[in-house]
């Protein structure tokens, strides 16, 4: 039995997996990762399956120890990783042995980091998933953020080689693409021009549920109250303040504000990973174009996973030399 000991935890460390499926009709948010591809790649780098649970963190990750040898990998962005003080790279796997201290800093060019351990985090599934939903206190460890002295069971995992990417995985660049609607007709032409022509600043008012944007106000000529309807990840709702709110992984299942547009699924992780204070722009595309992007994005992710190879035996040595 392998135990993960958390000696220190950053302010926002939670257990996540792909999230709850099929319970939106009962008001249960899917939850799951803010950046799905990064989580999938972290799992793949330690030989896990796509349904295994990982730790997601924003801000500093923390300090971790294990009771049995494991493989681990950190993804999401550039980040300082130390094994007993020795620097290690993200986006590839490493061994962590009993007695070693793994210290993980904060993402430098991104927001959300993913820390996968071979075997996956073994907290009991709740309503079909291990993903933590903080608002309703479901999943993960007692439905809450992790803290110092928490202990988590890791799943059984066979020993395996250390892995890395043959080619580096890269996020798309350019504007955040959106599909107009479902309440696009609540906004007039002038507002639509402002929405698509002017930049928005990623506000520090953000969490796993929602991302607020600062920029031109978006008044709804159709009014800012609708009869509540269903939401999706990426819904851009506009309350009476005119300040758009993008619903994220932990969103509520229904909402009563008009939704001017929906962020394309491939670009939502990119928005989640944009540091606060940065400017973004939106570009409108059709539903069909967004479907094409999603299908292509899934293919690229599959190719990235297929392109994972054993790290050359010398790789660790070269890092030793660099130290």
């Amino acid at each position: 039995m392998t135990i993960l000991l958390i000696s220190q935890a950053g302010p926002m460390v939670t257990v996540q997996d792909r999230g709850r499926k099929g319970l939106l009709h009962a008001g249960v948010s899917g939850s799951g990762p803010m950046d799905g591809p990064s989580m999938d790649l972290a799992n793949a780098l330690v030989g896990n399956g796509p349904d295994d649970a990982v730790l997601e963190f924003a801000g500093p990750g923390g300090v971790f120890e294990v009771t049995e040898p494991v493989r681990f990998a950190v993804t999401g962005g550039a980040v300082d990783i130390r094994i007993d003080g020795a620097a290690a790279f993200p986006w590839e796997s490493h061994h962590l042995l009993p007695g070693q201290r793994l210290a993980i800093g904060a993402m430098r060019d991104a927001v959300w980091g993913y820390l996968a351990f071979s075997g996956g985090i073994g907290t009991p599934p709740v309503l079909g998933a291990r993903a933590t939903h903080l608002r309703s206190g479901l999943g993960g460890l007692d439905g809450r953020r992790l803290g110092a002295n928490d202990r988590l069971l890791l799943g059984e995992a066979p020993a395996g080689p250390l892995l890395a990417f043959r080619r580096f995985w890269q996020r798309a660049r350019g504007p955040i693409r959106v599909v107009p609607g479902p309440q696009d007709d609540y906004f007039d032409q002038a507002t639509w021009r402002a929405f698509l022509d002017e930049p928005f600043i990623v506000s520090p008012s953000r969490d796993r549920m929602a991302q607020i944007l600062d920029g031109p106000r978006l008044p709804a000529v159709g009014g800012h109250d609708i009869v509540s309807d269903g939401t999706v990840a990426g819904s851009i709702q506009v309350p009476a303040s005119g300040r758009p709110i993008v619903l994220m992984a932990e969103r509520q299942s229904t909402g009563g504000y008009p939704k001017i547009a929906t962020v394309a699924s491939v670009d939502l992780p990119r928005l989640a990973q944009t540091p606060s204070g940065r400017a973004i722009r939106f570009a409108a595309i059709s539903q069909e174009e967004a479907e094409d992007l999603l299908i292509a994005g899934r293919r690229t992710l599959r190719e990235a996973v297929a392109g994972i190879v054993e790290k050359p035996a010398s790789a660790d040595l070269s890092k030793e030399a660099r130290r």
């Binding site: 499926k21 608002r135 007709d185 509540s228 819904s235 929906t262 967004a290 992007l293």
Partner: protein, 241 residues
């Protein structure tokens, strides 16, 4: 903005919303629920899940299996064929302790309406309610059928924490809180029933389309029902409507 209903609108690259109206209406809601039931009984491979709401059905789909363009045609055909009321309705009689600590707005609401607390309780408990949708939080029930005299705007500033089981009024709607959390609704009592308990084999008590009546109870009965709820027992059984 003349809009004709029904219409099917895009919600990004993995969802469509079938809008039947832009108003709260029992017949519209019954058609939404019938369409959701039809899609559950005769699934379309690409449809991942559906979310029935007051007047629209959100359909989440996988574009790798079917594109929106093709899915729209199939959903339009289903919409024409769906018959409301094909599922037998059920009614839950929900025991409520009115007033007390959880009914923190009962006295003020009475003053606003010119009603005594007893009169207000009698009016609330005489209503026949219907679950229009479950949303916002796990198992949270939005109820229609609130008697008009009890319609009351929400608070300007939401309270930070309202307990699970609180019986609320928000505008024209009534509610039963399923989990504790912030709320701008007004509260007149509490039920010992748990609308949501993830440790139960049936975690959710209510579904969209269910009927609800409220039954005033005394604190002594509430204490017994609380104990049963904590033990994970089903405290009430539904009756046929």
């Amino acid at each position: 903005m003349p809009v004709t209903y029904p219409r099917i609108v895009a919600c990004g690259d993995s969802a469509l919303s079938i809008e039947l109206s832009d108003e709260i209406d029992e017949d519209v809601n019954a058609r939404v629920i019938a369409l959701a039931a039809d899609l559950a009984e005769r699934p379309i491979d690409a449809v991942v899940e559906t979310v029935p709401t007051y007047r629209s059905l959100l359909v989440l789909y996988d574009p790798s299996l079917r594109r929106a363009q093709a899915l729209r045609l199939e959903l339009e055909a289903r919409l024409r064929a769906a018959v409301p009321g094909s599922r037998a309705a059920r009614r839950f009689v929900v025991p409520v302790v009115y007033g007390g600590e959880a009914g923190l707005d009962l006295a003020e609401l009475g003053d606003m309406k010119g009603l005594s607390a007893d009169e207000l309780v009698a009016i609330h408990a005489a209503g026949e309610y219907r679950v229009y949708m479950i949303g916002f939080a796990p198992g949270f029930a939005y109820l229609g059928g609130l008697p008009e005299i009890l319609h009351t705007p929400r608070l300007a500033t939401p309270r930070q924490r309202i307990e699970a089981g609180a019986i609320g009024i928000g505008g024209k709607q009534a509610s039963i809180n399923s989990v504790s959390g912030p709320s701008g609704w007004r509260f007149i009592g509490r039920t010992p029933l748990r609308l949501f308990d993830p440790s139960r084999s049936e975690p959710f008590l209510l579904s969209a389309g269910d009927h609800v009546r409220f039954r005033p109870i005394e604190p002594a009965e509430a204490a017994a029902l609380d104990a049963a709820s904590v033990a994970g027992k089903t405290v009430v059984e539904p009756e046929p409507v």
